[in-house]
Amino acid sequence: MSSINPIQSASIRERAQRPDYSAQALAAIIRIPLAKDPAELLDKLMHATEAIGASASVYTAAIPEDGNEPSCLCLFACHPAFAQEQSSRSLLLKHPWFRFARTHTTPGTDHQIHLQHEADVAAIDLARKYGFKSCLIVPTPAGANLDRLEMLCLGSERDDDFEGSEARVVRALARSLAAELHDWLTSYLRRQLRESARLQERDLDLLALEWQGLGTKEISMRTGMSVASVDSRFQRINARLKCASRSASAKRAAAYGLLEPT
């Protein structure tokens, strides 16, 4: 079995013309926020992928950290052997799908991917074995203050299944699914970091001001804290966020959605 829909009796384009198609797909998509953890999120992504009629899907997020390498979360709603083989070859962040997501803001299909190296060809060949003969890549560019990149890739066992006018509804549903995944991840990361770093409201206020580019004196004036208090508070925040500087702490907090108004 190479995909979650091994007997893809109808193409996605054919399924998209059924009267109840969108309603069923949306019913699965709106369950995404109910996931309590990544395991449940993967389960719900699997259901949504099936409801859309895709053979497989992959969701990946790159979260900037205080260093060269970002953190990376990958959910493989497909045959697990693909997760294993892909992960043993290279990070999904180096995959041509993710390169597409990094350079585009709107969805695109496999026809729009430029293969630059032999490794790209091998990566696409591997994906084709596991339910991605054709695919739709949905980039999720984060907001202005959220330096994060996410990608949803839906696959089909059939060639050209995401092309043509029938695919418009599929693209709309895929974007909706990607947006729900983004919202879930933002909420999850925010909760995780806030709990692990034991940050208080005051800490978040200081990080938000730092993220706006304010210096110590301005932060002191805005918060009513002394300059020394601001500095020492930032030292504690840096230690808790495991960052080398206050700007790195602010960047990390922003990437994890902690500085978004709730």
């Binding site: 079995m1 979650i4 829909n5 091994p6 007997i7 893809q8 009796s9 699965a28 369950r31 109910l34 996931a35 309590k36 953890d37 990544p38 395991a39 449940e40 999120l41 993967l42 389960d43 719900k44 699997m46 259901h47 099936e50 009629g53 950290e65 205080d66 260093g67 060269n68 390498e69 970002p70 953190s71 990376c72 979360l73 990958c74 959910l75 493989f76 709603a77 045959h79 697990p80 052997a81 997760a83 294993q84 083989e85 992960s87 043993s88 990070l91 999904l92 966020l241 495991k242 960052c243 990390r252």
Partner: protein, 106 residues
Amino acid sequence: MTNRTDTTSSQPRKRFDIEDGSDICRVRLVNVSSGVAAGRTRRMQGNAYLEYWALFMSREQFNDCATADPLRFSDPLLFAQIKREFNDVFDQSHPVSVHKGTGSEA
């Protein structure tokens, strides 16, 4: 196409958290409505980590992947533990299909 029902939230959940001795690798196994979700987290430099999740819908899928898992040689103790825990979690997800006999069943 096989249609499955999303009933995760109403199921009793069984999970295992396994870490290697150096706290570099963490494996989680959670039963969900589609099967067993397996998560692996690897610490990278600084705060960075790599976390990926895959879904095993059958024991065969897991066994196939296990034979190609690098942990089999790099950390055989952790590998053996993961195999045992997977079977426990999977059995809870699919109580009807539990077979722990001698292999002589019809």
